[in-house]
């Protein structure tokens, strides 16, 4: 019997010939990414007496960067001390910072066929690059950094086969929403993406989809490696990629075909993601918004900012609406400045912020008040996620958010692009 991508990676890193569903694989990670947050949330940082390999630990500050309060400032000072004490090889501190999953991809830390440990739930983002990662906990990250071990249940895998190509103004975010709407939660399941449609699916769309798989509760989410992956990684990784492909006779819990051409923009309704969306053509309510957000590990990519700038160019954000755009990393911020996107957005009345997790988790830079309504192209719409538990959070693609920020109400971006909004 053949193996899926994740089965092969868990087998290699646990030293087993094969692993199968129901087993616990105790693995040696290829790289561990540590964020700022465990350094300052009480009870989750115990100073290591030793680390298993200083070249395999990366520190990336993102959630509270730059520090909004003394607590974050103190935690990050501790992180810097830890990095110095053990001479850690990869440190992405102030000025080189960004959202950990974005930086891990940009800087070649997330490598095909490898196992990455990161305590943040959206670590599955690395799956776009054929790199196995799932949100671990802060204690898993501690064990991974010190003992060099981390445990994973081996779960059944669901295979998604893409065919066709996305229509204009339809994004990877909408593909994910479609999966979440049609198939709901994937707890205790890994997912694998492949098929002929992959050749027409850009890397930024793949990264959005992989990142969002945390929201259907997938264990691991892995894309097959192809020419698009190789092109993205060119110049980023410091050793040859060793991608992992599934065997032809790999066993899947289910195989599902998705015709990308059939996917349309979605709106996800407040408070939950699985089975909680509406294709925008059938969204018949007029929902006025107070805040519109484009950012996070899922949608802080340069392509997302280009889409936003393209839609708001020459227009004004509706009165009373706050459009916040947060680049996913310093590199993306700089690129957006160079392309004039920051200027276009600012002229339209948007605010482009420092690169951080920030508003996505209601931590800083865009917290919601009671009674407010937000439409977001980030990761979550949970009650209380972005601030007050009395606020409502709808989700859409970057195009839907930008078009809605101009209209002042949740709007189908397809009309906006055509200039008819």
């Amino acid at each position: 019997m053949g193996a899926t991508i994740i089965e092969k990676i868990l087998a290699r890193t646990s030293g087993a010939a094969v692993v199968g569903p129901g087993e616990i694989a105790v693995c040696r990670p290829d790289i561990v990414v540590q964020l700022d947050m465990p350094f300052y949330v009480d009870g989750f940082w115990y100073r290591p007496k030793k680390v298993y390999d200083p070249d395999r630990i990366a520190i990336i500050f993102d959630h509270g960067m730059p520090a909004p309060t003394i607590k974050e400032a103190s935690g990050m000072a501790e992180g810097r001390r830890f990095a110095r004490e053990f001479g850690l090889k990869h440190v992405y501190d102030f000025g080189r910072h960004g959202i950990s999953h974005v930086v891990a991809a940009e800087k070649g830390l997330a490598r095909p066929g490898e196992l990455l440990v990161n305590c943040d739930s959206h670590s599955c983002a690395a799956g776009a690059l054929n790199c196995a990662a799932r949100g671990a906990g802060p204690l898993d990250a501690l064990q991974a950094m010190t003992q060099g071990l981390v445990w994973y249940p081996v779960t059944p895998t669901i295979r998604y086969e893409f065919t066709g190509a996305l229509a204009p103004t339809v994004s990877g975010k909408d593909v994910f929403f479609h999966i979440a709407q049609v198939y709901g939660g994937h707890s205790n399941m890994s997912v694998e993406f492949g098929g002929p449609g992959l050749a027409a699916l850009a890397m930024n769309e793949r990264r959005t989809i992989a990142t969002m798989c945390a929201e259907i509760g997938a264990e691991f989410a892995l894309f097959e490696y192809d020419a698009i992956t190789a092109e993205y990684l060119e110049g980023r990784i410091d050793r040859p990629a060793e991608p992992v492909a599934p065997d032809a006779d790999a066993e899947y819990a289910d195989r599902r075909v998705i015709d990308l051409a059939e996917v349309e923009p979605y709106v996800m309704l407040p408070h939950a993601v699985p089975n909680n969306g509406v294709p925008i053509s059938r969204f018949d309510r007029e929902v006025a918004i107070d805040q519109a957000f484009i950012g996070s590990c899922a949608n802080g990519q340069i392509e997302d900012i280009r889409i936003a700038a393209g839609i708001v160019a020459g227009r004004q954000v509706a009165p009373g609406v706050r459009l916040i755009v947060t680049p996913g990393s310093q590199d993306i911020y700089l690129q957006a400045v160079r392309e004039g996107l920051v200027e276009t957005l600012t002229v339209a009345g948007a605010v482009v912020t420092n690169s951080t997790c920030g508003a996505c988790l209601g931590y800083h830079m865009g917290v919601l008040a009671p009674g407010e309504v937000c439409l977001t192209a980030s990761t979550r719409n949970f009650k209380g996620r972005m601030g007050s538990s009395q606020a409502e959070i709808y989700m859409g693609s970057p195009a839907t958010v930008a078009a809605s920020a101009i209209a002042g109400v949740i709007t189908d971006p397809r009309g906006s692009i055509a200039g008819t909004a």
């Binding site: 030793k50 802060p138 509760g217 538990s389």
Partner: protein, 174 residues
Amino acid sequence: MDLVREGRVWKFGDQINTDLMLPGSAFRLPKEEQHMLCFEAIRPGWVKEVREGDILIGGRNFGLGSGRPVGAVLHTCGIRAVLAESINGLCLRNCINVSLPAMNCPGVSALFEEGDTARIDFRRGRVENLTRGGEIDAMPLPGILVDIVQAGGIVEMLIAQGFIESEPFLAARS
């Protein structure tokens, strides 16, 4: 070694996410206060009603969400076992790693009314309703995970093996 827990049941429905257990606003609180906001948005006052030894039963996708340490929060509230129709993988590890046993148990919601007494054998994957009778098979907790629970969690294991200091670092507040 056996891993059996018996206690009073609290029932929660489907799609209970991490942010309901530990809202972002709790992050900056001292550890001993973080749990006070658990379920505040959907069930205010619950933290004062729950007592040590109680058991939480969730619905589908229990614990979906972020890496925030919800297992530790539930443990501090007094919860000593978690069952759900399905448990998010990250939530499961955040429970096991702080020595709070948790297990997937499809069909468990129908077996209990809130306030019933449950008896759970994690190693064998058996769940009994001691109040009304009836039992159900769960997905047994693999031996490696039972061992982590029995050892007192990851931190205790790492301290015992000399990997980390025995007291946590606490970031300054002022």
